[in-house]
């Protein structure tokens, strides 16, 4: 970590308090609200529990951890939100991401290749438009959204990334995203409300999701199952009165069921990336999102029949052969041509129309 962070007395005290063992948002709020402020509360804790304040403060300094305290300057969440965290810990090289418009892109871990692509493309589109992409760094949609946002490079006009984690900032979970974590650090901020050393715990993820919803001006759900973290994030965003956009999907796709349910409940359908800009109150630009697919040759003959047999949904080779009544050899040739031209891609034993 190359940067150094100067913390105010209040921020440092709040940072140390947040790192006390067994600390909860409710308890932290109570301590911070005491007369005399965080400093006095910390002094009382030091006296009562022999807290090693210097060690924690040194750790905060060494990691260049920023502390955003509710009510102080720079705290990124509106005070209209009841259950906002009393303090946020953040690490990363681009704290300016909090000054930009923020959009959460969330979704299920068990996403389809279509969902992964949509999340990636939307992340890239928003980052290019100078919007910070907020997400939870989970496997699946979350990861794809940040990959997309970071694919445009950091700094400049790019929006950057805000990763809200449910663990301490010194823990990488899931481990597979260890490089993604590092990239978010260099192009934005990693945010957590828990102290160092807190590991992944199932109960903490839904609690974390409220921070994602609270940080984002608009929440976008790419793919969500009926019961899942993405639904929780969307529900919280609706509670906070923030616009929620959902990508409609096939009724056959369980990874789209949550989105379709949200749409039935009154979420806005996301049909074009510009819809997000409109929801933010920005004017849609001339940028190309996924509205206009890249030009590709129109298939004729066998490839056309095979593509028609896909019907816009994933299909196995067996199904395509049955529907077209073509021998497997000709289906193979047709799929090669379609794949080369970018009409289909292969994943998990299925052919996915793009």
């Amino acid at each position: 970590m190359t940067t150094t962070v100067e913390l105010s007395t209040v921020e440092r005290a709040a940072g140390v308090l947040a790192n006390l063992s067994g600390m909860t948002p409710k308890r932290l709020r109570e301590l911070l609200d005491r007369p005399g402020g965080p400093r006095a509360a910390l002094d009382a804790q030091v006296r009562a529990h022999a807290v090693d304040e210097a060690a924690v403060a040194a750790l905060l300094a060494r990691r260049a951890t920023r502390v955003y305290v509710d009510g102080e300057a720079g705290y990124p969440i509106d005070d209209t939100i009841e259950d906002r965290p009393p303090a946020l810990l953040a690490e990363g090289d681009v704290p300016e991401v909090f000054d930009r418009p923020r959009v959460a892109i969330v979704g299920t871990r068990s996403c389809t290749p279509h969902g992964r692509r949509d999340a990636h493309d939307l992340g890239a589109f928003l980052a290019q438009a100078g919007i910070a992409v907020v997400s939870g760094l989970a496997i699946g949609i979350d990861g794809a959204a940040h990959e997309g946002a970071l694919a445009n490079g950091s700094g400049g006009s790019a929006g950057g990334a805000i990763g809200v984690v449910a663990t301490g900032l010194d823990i990488v979970y899931p481990r597979r995203h260890v490089t993604l974590f590092e990239r978010v650090r260099t192009a934005g901020l990693l945010v957590s409300e828990t102290g160092f050393g807190v590991g992944p715990h199932a109960g903490r993820f839904p609690v974390r999701n409220r921070i994602i919803a609270a940080l984002a001006d608009v929440t976008v759900v790419i793919e969500a199952t009926l019961t899942g973290g993405a639904r929780i994030t969307a529900d919280r965003a609706l509670d906070y009165g923030r616009p929620v956009l959902a990508v409609p999907g096939s009724r056959r796709n369980p990874a789209a069921a949550g989105c379709n349910a949200l749409l039935a409940d009154g979420a806005h359908p996301l049909l074009d990336p510009d819809d997000v800009l409109i929801a933010l109150g920005m004017s849609p630009g001339g940028r190309r999102g996924w509205g206009a697919p890249p030009p590709r040759p129109v298939p004729i003959g066998d490839p056309a029949a095979v593509l028609r047999a896909c019907g816009g949904e994933p299909a196995t080779t067996d199904q395509l052969a049955s529907r077209t009544a073509l021998p497997p050899d000709r289906v193979g040739l047709a799929l090669r041509d379609l794949s080369k031209a970018g009409h289909v891609e292969r994943s998990d034993g299925f052919w996915w129309p793009r």
Partner: protein
Amino acid sequence: MLASVTSATLVGVEGRPVTVEVHCSVGLPAYHVVGLPDTAVRESQARVRAALLSSQFDWPQKRITVNLAPAGLRKTGAGFELAVALGVLVAEEQLAADVLDGVAVLGELGLDGSVRAVPGVLAFTDALATTGTKTVVVPEENAAEAALVDGIDVRAARSLVELCDCLTGALPWPDWTPFEADTSEAGDGDGDDAESVDLADVRGLANARRALEVAAAGGHHLLLTGPPGVGKTMLARRLPTILAPLERHEALEVTRVHSVAGRSPRGGLARHRPFRAPHHTASVGALVGGGSGRPQPGEVTLAHHGILFLDELGEFPPRALDALRQPLEERAVRIARVPLSLRFPADFQLVACTNPCPCGRGGPTCQCNEIQRLRYRRRLSAPLLDRFDLRLAVRPPEPSDGPGEPSAVVRERVAAAAVRQGRRYDGCRWHTNAHIPAGALHRSVPLRGDAADAWRWSIDERDLTGRGAAHIRRVARTIADLDDAADVTEAHVLAAALLRDDVP
């Protein structure tokens, strides 16, 4: 005083000639067996003595020493008893020594002097024939089995008394019924199952049927993944109905292995390729063979020249699956025990089914999260998965699908493809496309023009490893053989790529 009789013992699934020496000398009456006998051999004293006495022969009140040579070889089973009994008679001059010249004797004795069948007679006879024995005496029940070996006279023995009379020429040798040259009865027990199912039962699934046909024709290992109930097992169970018939030397090996395992061939030489389907609770030993004392062949050996079918591959203990890797590579199992190291043949074709994930659905309708899927996939080690040339995601057939081609039609194509391969690989160390070594692949399966382009595209499309690229090449060759084509074309390569899904 001294007698010497030829017999045989088992080492793994191979027979080894053993010389049984019997020496009777003056001294306190006693009976010793030397030459690494196991318990069954040691216990033979009681049976040999009772059998001789029941047959109205004398049991000498002398010091009897039985030596089984070569001394360093561990001897197992009760197959020496008849030889020991004859040895005692010769040593005591109750039987002329010259009647046993060039004769080997196999058989267990009953207390009444009757001769009982022993397992592994085919292996014994095979070993004796190659070491120059002219005549072999076997229990009557085993006579037809022994006669499967060429170049050796088979004589049947029913009882000790009758055998002695036959040896001296006082009685004619008893007749025995040879196996009929061609009966529809299967020799391997699974045959009846193979007769009642047919590939025509499978609706749709054109590509999966193609995979089955290619597996049968080229000997490629096949992995089917898919949700429960789509017909993975149904497909795999129909593989035996389209396999090429066993060649004679293969049939001999199969029959010998099964005879050693105690499944005496009742219908003669095995005609159908074995199809073994062990349950997923099978232990390592049950799969690859083993056991203390006399190691027994495992499922991989019983599936020699046939199919080893593992349903629910993910449920097998990882240790058992990893134990399969070496036999898959070497096409034989080495079992090492302190006194000996055995080599069981295990040239089998592996066919396996598995669910793609814990919920079983896989693909776009899967309800598992990525971590669950990853954990499930991790049960199947990558080195094992790498062995499967053909990997296919199977999904339910379309409602409009009709019945497919019957097995008989497919079987003809498979047999023709096998003949093509046999001709092409005449004089090679391998006989099927699946066994083309990586080093010989470019020479054996040349790809030109469009075919080479399609091959390179298939590799790039999915970032295949060198092994994956080789799989596609071998499978493309088999598809061309099924097509009766001399050269591998673009369509063959692309069809081969379709038989390798990125699953599970």
